[in-house]
């Protein structure tokens, strides 16, 4: 960090009246505060009104406390990484990934994470996009036949986009008509290593 930036940090501290200097808080002081807070919490619970019970309503069956299941962004994404730069796209946004590009779907330690737009600009030589509609993304309608053929035969990484942003493409809800059965739909069997 440059020294002048270090100096200016002091100026970024809140300018409200600063409390007087004090000795650092000790374990005993915090323990005292903790005991007081626990007593107040116990009193609050003891004084809380009993929940109103509607005699006309059936009581809901007892259920275990809901486990914490926070989502993870990286767990919901696929990583694309090349030449020290990486980006993430939603899972199922990659419609086609040729075998020879398999190594580019793994994060390389130290790679700099950038947004999709910046990553795509740097890697247009081996990434192509297919613009899809909302209905196609939801699996309500298939991709156009010639688009499907281009995707399946593509030697590049193919990413589905909606208004330029990567979007997941769900499997078709109904199979395509008899006549197109021979075309392998990338929506039904996304080809990934």
């Amino acid at each position: 960090m440059k020294p002048w930036i270090a100096f200016s940090l002091l100026g970024l501290l809140p300018v409200a009246a600063e409390p007087p200097m004090r000795d650092a808080t000790t374990h005993e002081e915090l323990e005292l505060r903790y005991r007081k807070a626990m007593q107040e919490e116990a009193m609050r619970k003891a004084n809380a009104p009993a929940p109103q019970v509607d005699p006309a309503k059936k009581p809901a069956p007892a259920k275990p406390a809901e486990p914490a299941k926070p989502p993870t962004l990286l767990g919901q994404s696929d990583i694309i990484c090349f030449n020290g730069v990486a980006t993430i796209v939603p899972k199922r946004a990659i419609l086609q990934s040729p075998q020879n590009l398999a190594s580019r779907l793994q994060y390389q330690a130290g790679a700099k994470l950038v947004g999709w737009k910046d990553f795509y600009e740097l890697n247009r030589a081996w990434i192509t996009t297919v613009e899809v509609s909302e209905e196609q993304a939801q699996g309500d309608s298939p991709l156009a036949e010639d688009t499907q053929k281009k995707v399946v035969k593509s030697t590049q990484l193919v990413v589905a986009t909606f208004k330029g942003g990567p979007i997941s493409v769900l499997p078709l809800k109904t199979p395509p008509p008899e006549g197109n059965a021979s075309a392998k739909s990338p929506q039904q069997t996304p080809s990934k290593p």
Binding site: P3, P20, M21, T25, R33, P70, T72, Q138, I167, L170
Partner: protein, 351 residues
């Protein structure tokens, strides 16, 4: 000017002995359509602030939005933080959560374990008609806590292990304010209550919804997390209380633990016995400025600071740390300085 010069020297000194960790942040917005499950990345340009129309239309069962920031560190790799989550639908209540503390210096809300923090949430759109869907009549408030463990930073944290500390149903449109004077993170494993570190997450969730043949799980309408960091501690070694210092000042070793992520720490000296609140002369080479995402521990060696102690006499040196919460004294020592050289001799003459 002297303070600026001192900081310049300290920064250069501190920088020379340590490899600098390089940290960057990248923001992401994801839109999750319900119930289809389509996920759209709306991150093409997510700056520090702004607004945009939802790229995908909101269907009647709604959509969930998540704002994430990913921290890339040259040392610890990649860590993700969910800054906000919001579920919107035609009849799902609205909720807005804010967390605040005296530290406004970080995009990720944080505070220190001995400092209070505040939670405000506003619930709106709750209905109460007999024919209104159940999911429109109440929301669930949840408070989760999770320890980082001694020395932990939250990097690669498995947040599925967070403890549900409190859960309540809210059935009234209102703004609710809570003050937490003490953390609810468990003390297990920490040597002292002052060394607790972890995070507390507050969430407003919709109730599960079953309508028109669709089932939508309970979803997050809004969620915010605040990090709790330990109180710093420090010691001065190389000089003892009451020591008589003659001629040259001894080399000092400053041991600094858990300096707050946004702090300035230094050694100061003033004449006389210790008086808390005294402003003294800053000892050359003793300053350390931290502007980081996690607490820092360092060891500083300070020597040749005799010029900062102008006169002989009783001196007190104090280890001070300044944070967004104020100024704390971590340690102090008082000694006698006597640099006067006395020569015993006689003068004789002879003719």
């Amino acid at each position: 000017m002297k303070l600026f010069q001192c900081l310049l020297v300290a920064s250069l000194t501190c920088g020379s002995g340590f490899s600098q960790e390089v940290i960057s942040y990248l923001n992401y917005i994801r839109q999750f359509q319900t119930p289809s499950g389509v996920v759209f990345d709306a991150s093409n340009s997510v700056g520090q602030s702004g607004s945009m129309l939802s790229p995908l239309p909101i269907q009647k069962n709604g959509a969930r939005f998540e704002l994430w920031t990913i921290q890339s560190s040259s040392v610890s790799g990649v860590s993700e933080y969910l800054l906000s989550s919001s579920y919107v639908a035609s009849y799902i209540p609205t909720a807005s959560l804010t967390l605040s503390s005296s530290d406004t210096t970080s995009p990720v809300p944080r505070t220190r374990v001995d400092q209070p923090f505040y939670v405000t949430y506003t619930i709106g759109g709750l209905l109460s008609g007999a024919t209104d869907p159940d999911a429109s009549k109440a929301v669930t408030y949840q408070h989760h806590v999770q320890s980082y463990g001694p020395g932990g930073t939250g990097a690669n944290l498995d947040r599925t292990q967070a403890i549900l500390y409190r859960e309540e149903k809210i059935e009234k449109n209102a703004t609710y304010n809570q003050t937490f004077t003490i953390t609810s993170i468990p003390r297990d494993g920490f040597s002292s209550a002052t060394k607790i570190r972890g995070e507390e997450r507050f969430t407003i969730r919709s109730l599960p919804d079953d309508r028109d043949g669709y089932h939508v799980d309970s979803l997050i309408i809004d969620s915010k997390t605040i990090q709790i960091w330990p109180v710093a501690d420090g010691s001065i070694s190389g000089i003892t209380n009451g020591q008589k210092v003659r001629y040259s000042v001894p080399q000092l070793t400053l041991t600094l633990n858990d300096l707050y992520p946004f702090s300035t720490t230094y050694l100061q000296a003033y004449k006389g016995n210790p008086v808390l609140g005294t402003t003294g002369a800053i000892i050359s080479g003793s300053q350390l400025v931290i502007n980081d995402s996690v607490p820092n521990s360092r060891t500083l060696v300070v020597s040749n600071y005799g010029a900062d102690l102008a006169d002989d006499g009783t001196w007190t040196m104090e280890l001070i740390t300044k944070t967004p919460f104020g100024t704390d004294r971590l340690a102090y020592v008082t000694f006698e300085l006597d640099r006067t050289m006395k020569v015993n001799g006689t003068v004789t003459t002879s003719e």
